[in-house]
């Protein structure tokens, strides 16, 4: 053993001091991130509660008014978040956990709004566009996007039930078609045994519920006749 402890100990101490400084710095950064994420979360809550009116047979444009305005707020918040995270490069995924869940919810709401508006699926690139992230190095993680889409499908059975009650008998057919396509899309993915897979596994129950509603409506002759899509989207396979 060489007797170099005399200067080795301060060196050891110095390294740990550096670590502490580094870790403290990243701690402050996380606090800044969390502050923005909390704002994102409260905005999503606002959007969500306004969207719930869709189940109370209000007209869609009326329901969408507030959420569409709030999406602009979300965009600003994501810009702020991106700025903070991009202050130094390559660390998106170091702090990813801090905005992951909230972003999944954001995607689910954006996708639901988009679907109510257009009847189509909000694509990953479109979601990024809505959040103003398409030119940024701060991207929307694809897995977060996919999880968000799975979350959105949970809203659909309830929507269908309430639309039918309100007298829209064509709604189940549309939703069923959409959800069938979406489910087929997800089945193309090779998933690992992770959260996304678990979330996707829940989608088949949404699909089944919508099929049931569609069946109920159809067997009672409530659907509009002569629509060709009906025959293709028959609820036989599940």
């Amino acid at each position: 053993m060489p007797g170099g402890e005399a200067h080795a100990a301060p060196l050891l101490e110095k390294q740990f001091e550096d670590f502490r400084a580094q870790l403290e710095e990243s701690g402050t950064l996380r606090e800044r991130i969390r502050a923005v994420v909390m704002e994102i979360e409260s905005t999503t809550r606002l959007i969500h509660s306004s969207l719930l009116l869709v189940h109370q047979s209000r007209s869609t444009p009326e329901v969408l008014e507030k959420p569409l305005a709030q999406i602009g707020v979300l965009k600003d918040l994501y810009n702020r978040l991106a700025k903070i995270v991009l202050e130094s490069p390559g660390r998106y995924y170091r702090y990813h956990g801090d905005w992951k869940t909230e972003t999944q919810t954001v995607v689910s709401l954006l996708a639901f709004v988009h679907w109510l508006e257009t009847g189509a699926l909000l694509l990953h690139t479109e979601a990024e566009e809505k959040l103003g992230l398409n030119d940024s190095e701060f991207r929307l993680d694809v897995e977060d996007y996919l999880v968000g889409i799975c979350f959105m499908s949970k809203e659909l059975p309830r929507y269908v039930v309430n639309q039918v009650t309100a007298g829209d008998y064509d709604c189940p057919r549309k939703v069923l078609k959409f959800l069938t396509d979406l489910h087929a899309g997800f089945r193309m993915l090779n998933l690992r045994n992770d959260f996304l897979r678990k979330t996707f596994d829940g989608m088949k129950y949404d699909l089944r519920r919508v099929e049931e509603v569609y069946y109920d409506v159809k067997i009672r002759g409530l659907t509009a006749n002569g629509d060709p899509v009906v025959d293709q989207g028959a609820p036989a396979q599940s």
């Binding site: 053993m1 060489p2 170099g4 402890e5 080795a8 100990a9 060196l11 050891l12 101490e13 390294q15 740990f16 670590f19 502490r20 580094q22 870790l23 403290e24 990243s26 701690g27 007209s59 444009p61 390559g90 660390r91 998106y92 995924y93 170091r94 990813h96 257009t118 009847g119 189509a120 699926l121 694509l123 990953h124 690139t125 694809v142 897995e143 996919l146 309100a166 007298g167 829209d168 008998y169 064509d170 549309k174 078609k177 396509d181 979406l182 899309g185 997800f186 193309m188 993915l189 090779n190 998933l191 690992r192 002759g221 409530l222 509009a224 006749n225 002569g226 629509d227 060709p228 899509v229």
Partner: protein, 281 residues
């Protein structure tokens, strides 16, 4: 939407003879069909892209996990090699250990370096972290036995620089993995200390004891700031156990060893065994 609702309401009212308005419904449904067809194909294209992305990511993750596992296995071998140390073969044992460690760096860490670029370092951290921690453990263990000092993170990262192409981003071990590896190091040092005591190398054991205490003390200040400190907290508990085991062993020798040594009056290492209390390893 409003119109549709109104229409369906009217249809409900006129349910028995609701075959009117056919013209309107069909024209609507044609427009709808066109739209669903385009969205369908763009959805398919989009999902094809997601599929590629996920396949690529999962394959890479799989390769990283494999590299990490190889690093773990071979770093463990280095650690076992260091444990073969005894009073008389120090140089020989350490040389072999250092050679094996260099081998791990060249053969397995380099594989990791090739996979990881840019955001991967943090995205795939969970996939490679165990291997890197074990590697930190092996490298710091070797270094301590050689010089009695702690191998710094900067020094370690400097040895990794030549592995990668200068045009690529080099693999740099992050503070968190380094600290987690260091926490495991104390377990190995405890085993080493007990072994050295039974071999009669008391000074070496005392040196280990001081070193481990120092690391434990420093870590207590750093752990609260670590990202996922839960893992680290359990490691800290284990570490304290290790520190205490070494201290108790040193205490045993100190108290009883001083009685036995002059009595037996030889430097036969086995004589210490009688003086050392049973220590669980």
């Amino acid at each position: 939407m409003l119109k549709l609702q109104r229409l369906s309401l009217r249809m409900m009212a006129l349910k028995p003879q609701r075959l009117h308005n056919i013209a309107e419904t069909t024209s609507q449904s044609v427009a709808k069909r066109v739209r669903t067809m385009t969205t369908e194909s763009s959805m398919k294209d989009a999902f094809a892209k997601y599929t590629d992305y996920l396949n690529h990511l999962n394959e890479k993750r799989e390769r990283v996990v494999k590299a990490s596992r190889d690093i773990t296995i071979n770093s463990k071998k280095v650690i076992f090699q260091v444990h073969r140390i005894s009073k008389h073969n120090k140089e020989e044992v350490l040389q072999k250990a250092e050679k094996d460690l260099a081998d791990v760096t060249d053969r397995y860490i380099s594989r990791l370096v090739k996979e990881l670029q840019g955001t991967d370092f943090w995205k795939l951290r969970r996939a490679y972290s165990p291997g890197v921690q074990e590697y930190v453990e092996a490298a710091t263990f070797c270094k301590f036995c050689r010089t009695g000092t702690l191998l710094n993170l900067d020094e370690m990262n400097a040895t990794l620089l030549p592995l990668s192409d200068p045009s690529l981003e080099p693999l740099q071990i992050n503070v968190l993995d380094y600290l987690l590896g260091l926490a495991d190091l104390t377990g190995e040092l405890m085993r080493l200390a007990i072994g050295r005591i039974s071999d009669g190398e008391l000074d070496f054991a005392k040196k280990i004891c001081e070193f481990v205490r120092e690391i434990y003390r420093e870590l207590t200040l750093v752990v609260p700031f670590m990202d996922d400190s839960h893992d680290m907290k359990t490691k800290m508990d284990t570490m304290l156990q290790s520190v205490m085991k070494i201290e108790n062993a040193c205490f045993g020798v100190h108290v009883r060893g001083s009685e036995y040594m002059p009595l037996l009056g030889s430097d036969d290492p086995t004589s210490f065994l009688s003086g050392v209390p049973d220590v669980e390893i």
